[in-house]
């Protein structure tokens, strides 16, 4: 799906729990997310910390779409 947006000239970033799959499919900007049932979250964190984690994920995604990449690139965001 995402490659079609790239083809139309719109830079995209994917927040996903499985960057290996995204990489092999050829997605250009990949943010390693929280977990499969919560890609933009992490329920094992206290609520306010989870929101902060989500902020960092989205910030990284915004940074990624503003970054030139040549091939599938993973941008890591850790919780610690």
């Amino acid at each position: 799906m995402q490659k079609e947006a790239e083809r139309a000239g719109i830079p995209t970033a994917l927040i996903t729990a499985i960057p290996s799959v995204a990489k092999s499919v050829g997605v250009s900007r990949i943010i390693t997310g929280g977990g499969i049932p919560y890609p933009a979250g992490n329920p094992s964190l206290p609520r306010d910390r989870e929101i902060e984690f989500r902020r960092r994920l989205v910030a990284k995604a915004l940074e990624a779409v503003s970054t030139a990449v040549k091939e599938p690139t993973v941008f890591d965001v850790s919780i610690a």
């Binding site: 729990a17 499985i18 960057p19 290996s20 799959v21 092999s24 390693t32 997310g33 929280g34 977990g35 499969i36 049932p37």
Partner: protein, 436 residues
């Protein structure tokens, strides 16, 4: 360990007065069985139980199928058949076990769709005994005792899950007891205690199960394995039922208990052990891990167990869709990188004629030797049938509100996902994708 298995084959299955086995005719006392199972359902979660018989060749369809159990009993050696379930979790796999090779107990019920999870509910599961869909399930060839149950509303998923499983196991144990003091039709001995010719290739088997919460669980010695660390087991432990399935979420992608006790890769390697192969052990692990790092971790741990067994080659199978295919593929990749030769088997996608897009849901560059389990994206038209067991309707499309339609009618299903075991993930089926 060394295990002797004595097999009994059913020629006829009937209801009658008293429960008995004579000359291949298994007679089941329906009332006695019903009373026995219901008496143990102390919380009354089962509103009704109506046992039904469905046999090979019948113009019949079975619906709402949950787990399918083997019927057996340990004659000697420690522990009970299916340890950990209404029995202590004693390590099994030695001595003598008697079991039916072509008779099963099937739990069928419309489990309430009251839960909120979009994954964790029992999707409609169909077995056709004859017709174009019969080959999708191995149970079109078995004599099936269908425990048709209705549930009392108001309980929780955890309770319903336990209730149906216990009902099935109680029925299976009751009938398994028939086999205790009887001479089997044929026997096999699996002896892993003797030294093996060092020139024989050392082969391991990785069986990766699904456990994602109630209704999608697999149980090891009686407990679900959500935080399972992969470990190696003796093949005979699995033959005695240390792995039981409580997985009803996606009918095509599941390995019911009867197959867990008769895993085709494990059985064939066990039969060949000491002759053409040195079957060094089976590793049991769990897929559907929630993040890439967790998937890689489990893959590495499972591969490490295989390496520790001294395997030169390994076969990997898994249970579930793409989320678990990734874990299995990472396991394969780790093993290949360590120089351990692997093969695996997988269902295909590909659209109705196979040419649409990709065939594999996931792969790694090292997965160059795969066997096909057939495509699940083929439409199938199932015929009108004379009789339906297990229920009366097909429950479809929960995500758009859920509809019930008559189960006996002819209909075309656009893919094989509602058919029981259609994904052929244990490799038991003969369906394959052939390229043209």
């Amino acid at each position: 360990m060394k295990l002797e298995r004595g097999y009994f084959s059913v020629q006829r299955l009937v209801f009658g007065r008293g429960t008995s086995l004579a000359d291949g005719v298994l007679t089941i006392d329906k009332d006695e069985l019903t009373k026995l199972v219901m008496a143990e359902d102390r919380n009354g979660n089962i509103a009704s139980l109506a046992p039904e018989i469905v046999v090979p060749g019948e113009d019949a369809r079975i619906v709402h199928v949950l787990d399918t159990l083997p019927v057996g009993v340990k004659v000697s050696g420690e522990g009970d058949f299916l340890p950990g379930h209404l029995a202590p979790p004693t390590i099994v796999g030695s001595g003598v076990t008697h079991l039916f090779d072509n008779f099963v107990v099937m739990e069928c019920a419309e489990l309430p769709w009251a839960g909120k999870s979009a994954l964790l509910y029992a999707r409609e599961a169909i077995i056709d005994m004859v017709g174009p869909a019969a080959g999708y399930s191995p149970f079109s060839k078995t004599f099936n005792l269908v425990l048709r149950m209705t549930m009392k509303p108001g309980a929780s998923d955890v309770e319903y899950d336990e209730a149906v499983r216990n009902a099935g196991i109680r029925a299976a144990r009751h009938l398994g007891d028939l086999l205790k003091d009887r001479k089997p039709d044929r026997s096999e001995v699996f002896d892993f205690t003797q030294p093996v010719d060092p020139k024989l290739p050392r082969v391991a088997y990785v069986t990766q199960c699904q456990t994602q919460g109630t209704y999608s669980n697999t149980l090891l010695y009686g407990k679900e394995v959500s935080n399972l660390v992969p470990a190696a087991y003796s093949p005979t432990e699995l033959m005695d039922g240390c792995i039981v399935s409580g997985n009803y979420v996606w009918p095509w992608a599941k390995i019911p208990t009867f197959i867990q006790v008769n895993l085709p890769v494990l059985m064939q390697l066990s039969r060949a052990h000491g002759k053409t192969v040195n079957f060094v052990g089976v590793v049991f692990d769990r897929g559907h891990n929630n993040s890439h790092v967790e998937k890689q971790r489990v893959a590495n741990l499972a591969a490490s167990q295989v390496r520790r067994l001294g395997a030169q080659g390994c076969i990997i199978t898994w249970e579930g869709g793409g989320n678990s295919a990734t874990d299995a593929m990472l396991t394969l990749q780790t093993l290949e990188r360590w120089g351990i030769t692997c093969t695996s088997l997988c269902y295909e996608f590909g659209g109705p004629d196979g040419s649409e897009g990709i065939l594999l849901v996931d792969d790694v560059p090292e997965a160059k030797w795969l066997v096909s389990g057939g495509s699940i994206e083929k439409p199938t038209t199932i015929p009108k049938v004379k009789r339906v067991a297990g229920g009366d309707v097909l429950r479809l499309r929960k995500e758009t509100g859920g509809e019930s339609e008559p189960a006996d009618a002819e209909r075309t299903l656009s893919n094989t996902t509602p058919f029981y075991c259609a994904g052929n993930q244990s490799g038991i089926g003969h369906l394959a994708g052939v390229g043209y």
